[in-house]
Symmetry: C2
Subunit: 614 residues, 2 copies
């Protein structure tokens, strides 16, 4: 008889076929367990906990991703574990694949399309004994004659397919050849069928998320967009962990690079298939990311980026052949990387500033791009100073007891009304945890209700209890066990602990320190700020008044705040579509002064103050 | 008891260890049998004939390289064959590895060195909190300050190692970094140790042979040179065969490309090791070859090259990254390919004309580059017209009964004195066959002695005999069998057959047709030729008066002939060392008019006449 498996907290139960793994069983029962490696024990993403029952012995793969303690507590890789009897299996939130909200959109800045790669439809007469011109020369002549465009170079990979591409579309009546030629700065980088359009891809390569935009180059129109997790996350949540891994050996660096390259290739194919196009139509690409993501994507050395004084290998904008990165686009496609600013202020920051046009604004403007690393720029009458703070992944729900990413079931809004809690969840489904905006709401509500004092200490309250010596505030009560209730995804309480408060204080302290130090080095006061631009996915969902309440944002009237969404992605799109914007980004990056926080004499005192709530 | 193996005609005999192949046994006995694949049955080079004895059954590999007839006649791959009893094994000349004379030298044209890639020694101060410039920016700044050189781009593969390269040589006293930067047209293409010199590689990629020259770029000095067989030869002797193979499928095309790339990588390493350098010091390379070799080396399509009207994919000069071809040189190294002229007049012809400076000569000059394909240029008061003729491999000893390549034991000079034959062999060792220059001498001597009439028919003569209905002239008599005489490499007679005469007539007819047609289309007569330049390895060894005697060369006084050696290789070297010469080659190629022989109405009549001797 097949063992019966209970998956918690999703509440699915069913038989596991003989010799099937827990992951296979979960799939059969419709429980989504993350698997980046396809179930071969190589990604460490499908961790589950055997709460009750008997399963196969731990494998070497389990030992690689789990500590002996964790294994003793019943943690296993679902893809390596075969149940030997009925089991109760807990699927931690971080192993669930429930679709996560991936904000990729941002405020579009209108721009006149003027892409670097342009296409021309040409008609060629086939060779004859009277006309023995080579294929490449014949094409260049036609381009000159028919479009007055000079292309003296042909990319090697285009040359490798030129003869068949030219002969692929023959006019039945005249016998002439028709082809769409894509050129970029005097080089032929692609040959497309006559009716195909050249496409571009803009990528915002975040530490946690990747946002991708497929663009029709000639019109600048976005055809499709998609957000996905950065698969490197399996190898470290923040850039420090990934730099450390990449420096272990060449193989690890290569692995991290290939993970992202593979994800970009996949998303390129996926976006193209949505609009019935081929990835081979993508002739240009713009990538932005923080300096570490930028370096890892290019396969650049990161050791010097991880050691003081944290210098990048390169900051200037780069143009490289897509094939040199392992990308499968048009044969001669290029990838443009916007300039980095400093070790921890990357091309994504330059892109954000490009999209928000902050450099052109008068007055005092603060721009904050909130992520695992948060970059902040203060524009003081057009003088730009930027800094970076390690805000950590708390705003993305990590390192918070019941934190989770912004997926279905995450509490994203919360109010304390008397002793009652009112909340709303993503997807309107029963709550399973707290995402970033929910966490900020909780902090603000607890502070306003006096449950937290300025130091963040949790006071007595009917909903406060102590478990194992740690105080916690019960947001959502336990539910009684209802066996067989498949729609019930949660059984335990959802709480916010004293430790969670500390995590948030560290994150908000880091960010607020950056803001304060930028103001003080620019000789400005908080009340002089005319405008605050909040960028990033988390930034668009955050309740600004909650963020002001806890002191994450400076206390200014709400109308001065502008939540602009994924401005880095929008900047990447601008640079993809407009040659002028691409050039502007390089000028912009060179205008940005960099403030190194950790080295500043006032850092510690400012940070201590910034940790306080209110 | 181990079987006893007799290797013929080299006369080696010894025991073959149990389970050892014939190739392994040959190696033990010091008999060199060609093996390109390392003895895994993949190159078909180690063909031997089992004359007597018993061996293992034919393998699938044997069947791939040998016809059923050949297998029935005892032919086998030595690397796939294990003797089961005493054997007598004939090693055909073409399977012997006896070192071949590989002429690589040619007349040097003096030129002021001005290479595209230049190097600069720079000193850098390491980063500090006050100086957070990225590695690449720091390098560019130092290059500008210390040498007034602007390099705005850094090759991606250089960037991938920039951080460690910069930190590899630290001055003990000052703590500053020292590095030699190699730039090319504003791009950093290599970072070398301070004391290393940037090197260049010039390659003449022939259908049969590859000549390689390692050059010290700054001085233009040739440090080392080497000739080797083109390993593609295992897959077809002439370009037509290789084009046909490449067009069978993508894998075959890739195989042909990789064979040459592998050979170039090997020769680069070998030449560098001779001068205690590393292949990673090679920052620039120039390759010349006929259009088919050029296309196969680059992985370009050749189908259209093999079909009328025989158009190349590209004729203009190309610059590609060495890594895009699979070459292991400096990380950002480039390969320059001189321009092709037409389908069967390649970059090697442009290089030959560059080296011989034929375009600058007054009067009427004929330049002939003899190879498997022979290219001929007629310079008529500076107006250049070129053509190509399929002279075939007869001049390299192939398709001639006792023909062989120019290796030890080849008869290279021969005179008929009465009924006696006087000859000299390469290496002064006992004769084993005839190489190209020997073959031309034989033809001339037989014609002068009246053994051959103008039509090439062999007349009666004391040394003429008939075997199986075919007349043959005995050049060297059989030797009696002398068992155990290891120094004796030959036992059978060396003859020149009526069929050999026909092969030669076809080759010389093709070449002479080219000469005549160039003259007639230019309105010139033979006696108006002021100078004849003979290029190519075979061309340097040929006896010019013999060649005139048989009508291979036009009847002119000997002092008008100039044997210049490997002029194509010399041209490649010029383009490697001098930017001006590289540009000149492009201009030169565009000035060359192409004469297509086969399509010409006078072709057949001219060819019939050109076949005649005298």
């Amino acid at each position: 008889m097949s063992p019966l498996i209970d998956f918690e907290p999703v509440g699915r139960r069913g038989e596991c076929p003989k010799d099937e793994t827990l992951q296979g069983c979960a799939r059969l029962l419709g429980v989504g367990i993350t698997s980046l490696c396809g179930g071969i024990g190589k990604c460490g993403q499908c961790i589950v906990q055997i709460v009750d029952g008997h399963v196969s012995a731990p494998t070497p793969e389990d030992a690689e991703y789990l500590t002996p303690d964790a294994i003793a507590q019943g943690y296993r890789l679902a893809c390596r574990t075969i149940p030997l009897a009925d089991c109760r299996v807990r699927v931690p939130l971080e192993s669930l694949t429930s679709p996560q909200r991936m904000q990729v959109e941002g405020e579009e800045t209108p721009v006149a399309p003027d892409p670097l790669a342009k296409s021309y439809l040409v008609t060629l007469q086939p060779p004859s004994l009277d006309d023995l011109r080579a294929d490449a020369g014949r094409l260049a002549n036609a381009l000159q004659e028919q479009h007055h465009v000079t292309a003296t170079r042909v990319d090697l990979d285009v040359l490798r397919e030129i003869s068949s591409s030219l002969r692929a579309h023959i006019d039945r009546e005249s016998g002439s050849w028709r082809v769409r030629v894509v050129t970029r700065e005097g080089e032929v980088i692609g040959l497309l069928p006559p009716e195909a359009s050249p496409l571009g891809l803009a990528i915002d390569l975040g530490t946690t998320k990747i946002a991708a935009y497929l663009v029709h180059l000639a019109s600048g129109r976005t055809l499709a967009s998609h957000g996905l997790m950065n698969p490197q996350i399996a190898y470290g949540e923040d850039v420090v962990a990934r730099i450390a891994l990449a420096e272990q050996d060449e193989g690890k660096r290569s692995l991290l690079r290939q993970l992202v390259v593979g994800a970009v290739n996949e998303v390129a194919t996926e976006l193209c298939s949505r609009v019935e196009a081929e990835a081979s139509q993508i002739v240009d690409m713009v990538v932005v990311g923080n300096t570490a993501m930028h370096h890892l994507f290019l396969g650049l050395p990161v050791r010097q980026l991880g050691l003081a004084p944290y210098v990048p290998a390169v900051t200037s904008a780069l143009d490289v052949k897509a094939r040199d990165l392992g990308l499968q686009l048009a044969p001669g496609a290029y990838v443009h990387l916007l300039p980095n600013v400093a070790g921890y202020v990357g091309a994504d920051h330059a892109a954000m500033l490009l999209a928000t046009q902050i450099a052109d604004l008068r007055g005092v403007v603060l721009a904050i791009d909130i992520g695992t690393n948060t970059e902040i720029c203060l524009a003081n009458e057009g003088v730009l100073t930027s800094t970076s703070c390690a805000s950590g992944p708390a705003f993305e729900g990590a390192h918070i007891k019941h934190g989770m990413r912004a997926a279905n079931g995450a509490i994203e809004r919360l109010r304390l009304v008397g002793d009652k809690i009112e909340y709303q969840t993503i997807g309107g489904v029963p709550p399973v945890g707290l995402c970033g905006s929910g966490i900020v709401d909780v902090m603000a509500q607890l502070f306003l209700a006096g449950v937290l004092d300025r130091q963040g200490r949790m006071q007595d309250h009917p909903r406060v209890r102590e478990v194992d010596g740690v105080r916690e505030f019960v947001l959502v009560d336990e539910l009684p066990l209802l066996s067989g209730s498949a729609s019930e995804a949660r059984r335990s309480a959802i709480v916010f602990t004293q430790q969670d408060v500390r995590q948030l204080q560290l994150a908000k302290g880091a960010m607020r320190t950056g803001i304060e130090m930028l103001l003080s080095t620019s000789g400005r006061k908080v009340e002089e700020i005319d405008s605050v631009i909040i960028a990033g996915a988390f930034g668009s969902y955050i309740d600004v008044s909650s963020a002001i309440t806890i002191g994450l944002f400076p206390r200014l009237s709400l109308e001065r705040f502008h939540q602009v969404g994924n401005a880095a992605g929008m900047g990447a799109k601008l640079a993809l579509v407009s040659r002028a914007k691409r050039d502007a980004a390089q000028v912009l990056a060179s205008r940005i002064g960099y403030l190194e926080l950790a080295a500043h004499p006032l850092f510690s005192a400012t940070f201590a103050q910034a940790m306080l709530l209110g």
